[in-house]
Amino acid sequence: MNQATWDLFLSSLGPIVLGALTGTIPLALVSFAVGLVLALLLALMRLSRRRWLSWTARVYISIVRGTPLLVQLFVIFYGLPSLGVVIDPWPSAVFAFSINVGGYAAEVIRAAILSVPKGQWEAAYMIGMSHRRALTRIILPQAARVSVPPLSNTFISLVKDTSLASLILVTELFRQAQQVAAFSQEFMLLYLEAALVYWVICLALSSVQGVLEKRLDRYVAH
């Protein structure tokens, strides 16, 4: 690597990391938080004995998982304006990513809830708990432990998927890299650099996952 390339690498690191800090990371965090709430709701609907609730959730999940995220993003940002609904890039991205995470994480959470033995529900009822209290105090804490690894997967995928937001003009990591690349014509360097920053973020996330699992593991036999 010659001096000029190295200089370009260093000088473009600023805007790329800034894109990560102001675009990629907050976009992923906010979408994941909203998506998780949605997912919990969908999982409970899916498990509900009321047919119309579980079917509504089923259909939602099927549509979200059966269509590309890029298409969802374009429908919201480029499609909705033709119906008179114009949403800014950032909220559009959050909207699309949340909907997407909601669909995927719902199945993870549903499986985690089902993985808690039936005896736990019965013991909770036995000590007098209502369904809701049994769910929040006894079942969900145990389901949380089970769902950390798959939800971490979902989150890491989301972080990388936020690069799609560059296509609806959100200033994030990849869009910053693209702009520098277009200007300098150093495509290989800039895209590898973007990849490197994504990788570092995901490494950090993996270690957070490790810490989280360890914390939730304190009551599990090894």
């Binding site: 736990q120 013991a123 009822y125 036995m126 000590i127 007098g128 708990m129 105090r137 009551y219």
Partner: protein
């Protein structure tokens, strides 16, 4: 804590000395089907205050289902359950959620597989119901829970998680968790069936002590020797009916029904 400490225990009769006429639990015509399979035909049974009823019988005979109906874990299709003369649930008319929770408020169950909450410590397992559901003062409940844990020799384990305990210890915590709810009726569902043989004794001894103290209980068990010693009455359940019931010594030594005789013979001489 003995049953007479309970606020709900309005009578001042000494434990075990309750007049035989005073029924704590009265079940009439209890029926339950799972799909086409009628597991309880028409169950009648009565437990007087301070008495211990042991339910014996082959697997699938319905004895566990009886217990689960008493705790509202299973919704019976027909029949009535009266508890303490103050609560009457008629299952022919669909009982409300309040009825079921009233049943649960007055009884507590000890499970075959303990079903302790794995994410809570021993002490947290015991105080969860009294503090969170019954809304009793935490300090008072904890003091009571610690006294109960000391009684079963588990004070040192109060901050341990269930997975760190042996089966016998877990089941003793299960019993303490039930006692801490201050129920009027204790329900045991094969409390020693998933224990290693060498750990069975501790748990049975504890249940026996509770019986002597005057707790009212219904126990589903395969331990005939234990039932003979602890129960005031034995009921032999088969095919969803109570085939025979009466004094434990009489039923076990000299059963009147042929079916009971067969069952006992098979238990006593398995091969």
């Amino acid at each position: 804590m003995s049953p007479t400490d309970r606020p709900e225990g309005t009578d001042s009769t000494a434990p075990g000395g309750a007049p035989a006429a005073e029924a704590l639990l009265r079940v009439r015509g209890l029926q339950k089907s799972f799909g086409p399979n009628q597991v309880l035909q028409s169950i009648d049974l009565t437990v007087a205050r301070g008495q211990v009823l042991a339910l014996i019988g082959p697997s699938g005979s319905g004895k566990t289902t009886i217990l689960r109906c008493l705790n509202g874990l299973e919704l019976a299709d027909g029949g009535t359950i009266d508890l303490a003369g103050e609560l009457s649930v008629d299952f022919a008319t669909a009982p409300t959620r309040n009825h079921l929770s009233a049943l649960r408020d007055r009884s507590a169950m000890v499970f075959q597989h303990y079903n302790l909450f794995p994410h809570k410590t021993v002490l947290e397992n015991v105080v969860e119901g009294p503090v969170i559901v019954q809304r009793r003062p935490k300090a008072e409940v904890e003091a009571e829970a610690l006294a109960l844990l000391e009684r079963v020799g588990l004070t040192a384990k109060k901050d341990s998680y269930p997975f760190e305990l042996s089966g016998g210890q877990q089941q003793r915590v299960g019993i303490v968790r039930a006692l801490a709810l201050r129920p009027q009726l204790l329900l045991f569902d094969e409390p020693t069936s998933s224990l290693d043989p060498e750990l069975v004794g501790d748990v049975l001894r504890l249940i026996k002590e509770l019986a002597v103290e005057g707790w009212s209980m219904v126990i589903v068990t395969h331990e005939l020797e234990f039932a003979r010693e602890v129960a005031t009455e034995i009921a032999f359940v088969d095919g969803g009916r109570i085939v025979e019931h009466g004094d434990p010594k009489q039923v076990l030594r000299d059963p009147k029904q042929e079916r009971t005789r067969q069952f006992l013979h098979r238990l006593l001489f398995p091969f």
